[in-house]
């Protein structure tokens, strides 16, 4: 069995489980929409303020939703010791990581695709012309965030305070990605192109580093 087929098997299983329960997606969306509503009511921002604080608010909503999804990612694996069952098979540990990461990436991107129109609606923004570049930033930011998040979700799933432990471990490490994504989003909303290319390069670099290192480290975090 090829590496990619193993990876695909894990991805399909996670997608099927989420389709059946809709636990992660409903929690992610509900929480992120609440975040957007609260910020909207708290600041009641005009257009000028939206262009300053909007990118930060958007990525707060994305990352909070992402953490909820990541916490759920290994919950099903720990029910009945399923992760042990997977570890008993001859599958490459990197394949397990990449399958779980791809599933998390899909969940988070779907949530972001639903949240973007809400963001535009609450903050009175028209995103039509900026949408392709904004989607690219969302993709690059989410790849880096979920790459580290999947690794740390596996670490925190074995701890007693897993819901608290994941954000404590995750946010300090993903600061570069989040800052890069917020800065890029700010430039896009302000129709500025200077510096955007460099920020996108930085995001790509972080994504590669986080994805490769997490794949290599996954075997060690699974050890009892």
């Amino acid at each position: 069995m090829t590496f990619f087929r193993q990876l695909f098997t894990i991805l399909v299983k996670d997608l099927r489980l989420e389709w059946r329960t809709r636990e992660a997606m409903s929690a992610m969306l509900l929480f992120a929409i609440l975040v957007l509503v609260i910020f909207n009511f708290t600041f009641n921002p005009d257009r000028e303020l939206v262009l300053i604080i909007g990118p930060g608010i958007l990525w707060v909503a994305f990352t909070f939703a992402g953490v909820l999804g990541l916490n759920r990612a290994f919950a099903a694996e720990h029910e009945n010791g399923c992760l042990s069952g997977v570890l008993l098979t001859p599958i490459d540990r990197g394949g397990i990581y990449l399958g779980k990461w791809l599933a998390n990436l899909v969940f988070t991107l779907v949530a972001e695709a639903i949240l973007l129109p809400f963001f535009a609606l609450f903050f009175n923004l028209t995103l039509t012309s900026e949408l392709p570049v904004l989607l690219l930033v969302c993709l690059l930011g989410t790849i880096g965030f979920t790459a580290v998040g999947t690794l740390l979700a596996a670490v925190s799933a074995n701890t007693r305070l897993r819901e608290v432990m994941l954000p404590i471990l995750l946010f300090p490490i993903t600061v570069p990605v989040i800052i890069g994504a917020v800065e890029s989003t700010g430039l896009i909303l302000n129709h500025e192109t200077a510096g955007l290319r460099d920020l996108l390069r930085l995001l790509i670099l972080y994504d590669i580093i986080f994805l490769v290192s997490s794949t290599l480290l996954f075997d060690f975090v699974l050890e009892e």
Binding site: R5, G81, L88, D92
Partner: protein, 240 residues
């Protein structure tokens, strides 16, 4: 799945130890399980039976000692060993929101078995769950879930079965089915290492027995060497 290379021992443990911080779960386990045997590992709660089986399955690293599975080093050749072992544990390894068939297909794909659909139906029939193939594991009783876990362990035609309390939750009929499966499994020169608190079942199924006390094997013998009553007396004496 390729057949065993017929190493004389399916499991060879020499001084296997396991510590969790200051707690010693296994002091020093020396145990040789003959290829083709059914070896029952007896011992009180906390003796270290489950820990030893988890180390043998590759789910846990030992803190010391050496372990060979089918003649291969359990650490250096872990990936090659994994596909040759089937495990039934306290944990069922089943996704509750997948159906019985989906659970087996998932594991079958990870093991890379030939003709997975056919094989999944075959093992479901062996544990009498064909009629519930499309029911989610969440809706199974404990006994049915245990039967599905047993089907999962047999799915990839392993050479060595590690069974940790496999009779948990099974009714009389299911116990008979499992014993039949173990008997047929052994006929193929395969090996079973099992733990159970049911002395009668453990003794009657075994060809060899071992007693574990506080992380050490204190007795090993062939079942032919003693009667069940003699074993019961020996067990009580050895654990005092």
């Amino acid at each position: 799945m390729s057949g065993p290379e017929l190493a004389p021992f399916a499991v060879e443990a020499a001084g296997v130890a396991k510590r969790f911080g200051r707690i010693t779960a296994l002091k020093s386990v020396d145990l040789s399980v003959r290829t083709g045997s059914v070896t029952t590992l007896f011992g009180h709660n906390g003796a270290g039976k489950t820990t030893f089986l988890r180390i043998a399955a590759g789910l846990m690293r030992s803190s010391g000692g050496h372990l060979k599975i089918a003649g291969r080093d359990s650490v250096k050749e872990a990936a090659q060993i994994r596909g040759r072992i089937g495990v039934v544990s306290h944990q069922l390894f089943l996704y509750e929101d997948l159906t019985a068939l989906e659970n087996l297909r998932f594991y079958g794909d990870l093991y890379g078995i030939d003709r997975p659909e056919e094989r999944c139906h075959e093992v479901l029939e062996q544990v009498e769950l064909t009629h519930r193939a499309n029911s989610r594991a969440r809706h199974f009783s404990r006994g049915m879930a245990q039967r599905l876990a047993i089907a999962r362990a047999f799915l990839h035609r392993p050479d060595i079965l590690l069974l940790d309390e496999p009779y948990t939750g099974l009714d009389q009929r299911a116990v008979g089915r499992l014993n039949g499966l173990i008997d047929r499994f052994r006929e193929g020169h395969h090996t079973v290492l099992l733990t159970t608190h049911d002395h009668h079942l453990g003794f009657t199924m075994a060809t060899d027995i071992a007693i574990l006390r506080r992380g050490e094997v204190i007795h090993t013998s062939s079942v032919g060497d003693l009667s069940e009553a003699e074993f019961d007396a020996l067990y009580e004496r050895s654990l005092q």
